[in-house]
Symmetry: C2
Subunit: 447 residues, 2 copies
Amino acid sequence: MTAASATGIASRLAQGAMTSVALAQAALDRISAENDRDRIFISVMADAAIEAAQASDARRAAGHALGPLDGLPIAVKDNIDVAGSITTSGSRHDFGGPAGADASVVARLRAAGAVILGKLNLHEGALGATTDNPFWGRCENPAVPGHTPGGSSGGSGAVVAAGIVPIALGTDTMGSVRIPAAYCGLWGLKPTRGLVSTSGLHYLSWTLDTIGPLATSAADLALAITAMAGHDARDPRSAAAPAGWSAALGAAPSLDGITLGRIDAASLADCEPAVVEAYDALLDGLSRQGATLRSVTVEGWEPGKARRAGLLMSEAECGSLIGEALDMHPDRFSQGFRDMIAYGRGARAERLAKAYWLFDALSAAALAALSGVDAIVLPTAPQRAFPHGAPAPANQADFTALANIAGLPAVAFPLPAPDGGAPASAQLLGHPFSEGRLLSIAEQAAG
Amino acid sequence: MTAASATGIASRLAQGAMTSVALAQAALDRISAENDRDRIFISVMADAAIEAAQASDARRAAGHALGPLDGLPIAVKDNIDVAGSITTSGSRHDFGGPAGADASVVARLRAAGAVILGKLNLHEGALGATTDNPFWGRCENPAVPGHTPGGSSGGSGAVVAAGIVPIALGTDTMGSVRIPAAYCGLWGLKPTRGLVSTSGLHYLSWTLDTIGPLATSAADLALAITAMAGHDARDPRSAAAPAGWSAALGAAPSLDGITLGRIDAASLADCEPAVVEAYDALLDGLSRQGATLRSVTVEGWEPGKARRAGLLMSEAECGSLIGEALDMHPDRFSQGFRDMIAYGRGARAERLAKAYWLFDALSAAALAALSGVDAIVLPTAPQRAFPHGAPAPANQADFTALANIAGLPAVAFPLPAPDGGAPASAQLLGHPFSEGRLLSIAEQAAG
């Protein structure tokens, strides 16, 4: 099944070559036929989607189309509120019944005309990266059958890779947008902290969580993030993008004059050889295209230690929010999830404080490492998609968590598999609010 | 002893009516004569002060005076590094010996020509508000003999109230600049989070701590904060002030057209009657001067609950930083301080996470309460200075902690005592980076 292009669909809609209703219906038909097997969706809002598509077609017929997202089907990770739908966060709990309102980011996309098809499977509680969900099923990776799509936004990767929708929303706490993008051969964007409101997100960690899009190209991510970004007084971390912020491509029309940071070979020691090979080939290509490469070091960054600190922060913050629900309804959460949350709740406060302190230090170090370079190039994950049921490597988020810790934007993009197998992936980590520049550089890097 | 005015001294220095060396020597003589009794200073750097004063006089003689702070004696709370001096934070510990460098804010003041006389007594660990220090003595309140100067920046209040220096640096975690300003009849400024670098501060809570000046007038605070403010890459919370930021007075040339928020009578239930009387008189005066008063509510703000959350955050964050030093050298800290830190270290992480979450909610609520008003008027503390040795009220920081929680600026200024006794105090809590406007409004409010 070919993955769908948002810009391509938008242009066919604009030309009258297809209708939004036909698009939505085709997607719903596929979900009906395939979801028992693929476990990509947790819930589907078929009637509302058809109604929204009809409204879009009517606007277009009247000459009042809202913009490039008008009529495009999208899908939303099931830890983000969509009005009228229960947000499960991948557990069996209903957290008080159907959401009364759309999350701010969903409302923004809806206002831009996007048609919301349904809610996507995820790793339970967004706390893990296989999306082999004990309640909602083992989500398949359409790019590498039988393998995990990654996580925690596994359904968000799978739904785009399957070509059911061109854009899906995921959430990224330590890599949960970028890891599924990597495993599914897609593009994924983790925005600057505060650029996209997280109001209406069921937090794993309010400190680390960001909402980001997955799609099949830089242009599609630019389209999505432009609609998603915007200040929101309901989110205390919301930050207005600086004047001139734009995710539009073209900020870096060539790689000439671009300086990129690379990490040293020792940092790649735990990577699968194919990932290292793909990373090295990418750096060679960047250099040939005129980019200057420079070794950078993030002072004090020990990926494993930072990851464990992020995990404790996630477990404690999540536990502080849903601990009571978990105590009252233990059967609605898996034993494994309960154990992780119990660990975070019961840890000594001193350890949690140390985790916050480490994050401050690493934020400063990441900004220092970026001074003098346009972006830092990293592998997205140390490995590629692995078979469902295989033990999950502990280090999946080692390269991705830094962006969450430092609140920086990062774009993951696919690299050709050197062995013809599953796709590899790299990410560009950039300065605050440099989404547009990162997407432009990545587009050229990806060739 | 009359308190000193920075602007007054600056103008006499500029006129050649006094020298910096004479000023420094007079202050040092007073310290020698009085410190055994008043316990305002923990350490004095007499030789370095005289040298700095000589250099200032030489600059001035050569026509190269640096600005209004050049040659002015100041003093620094002993939890802020001054190169070559041990920073005790009010304990007996040396935390690794003399500081190798000035804290960023000290370096800024030194670069502006200020003469640093010494390090000031504080409540042990900045964790309390009486400054009856078990190691460094009971700091006297020159404005109300036999009474506490407040805290934790008690020495900073006492040194200005005694007229030894016109400006002192304090730190404010939940009110530790404003409470001593209130008890000593002074002006105190808690700046917007990030405006003044905290690099070189020995944190109680890196989340809440800010460094602020105490002085005898709005004009002197404006002078001080202008020199103190500035972006510093060494502080991850450092924020560049927006273009046009200025602490200069005159931003609000009259109270006509100014709208101020007032809190309801129920919120004042636990206040000493004289504080309520002074607050009501202030509001009447503001109204007569043309200000519009409007009742405001900070949604979800329960001062006692917020204070307890701030205390846990302080104890846990401080414990995560100095816990090991405390375990190794228990005799260098008081039993009471050790107990508080042990409590914070050992609390469940879930509780600490809940405290951070509450703070986020209150930050948003405080900003919402400020929308439509220029500032909110509050008492500074629920009571006035109380006798040394009397039990410390638990609620001293109930009105001040909100500014720290929300990262907002607040200026405390003295109100006449309705009964002719100890001074009362009010504070203006304002929008981010509105220091200049707050000082202007407060100056007119204070009449």
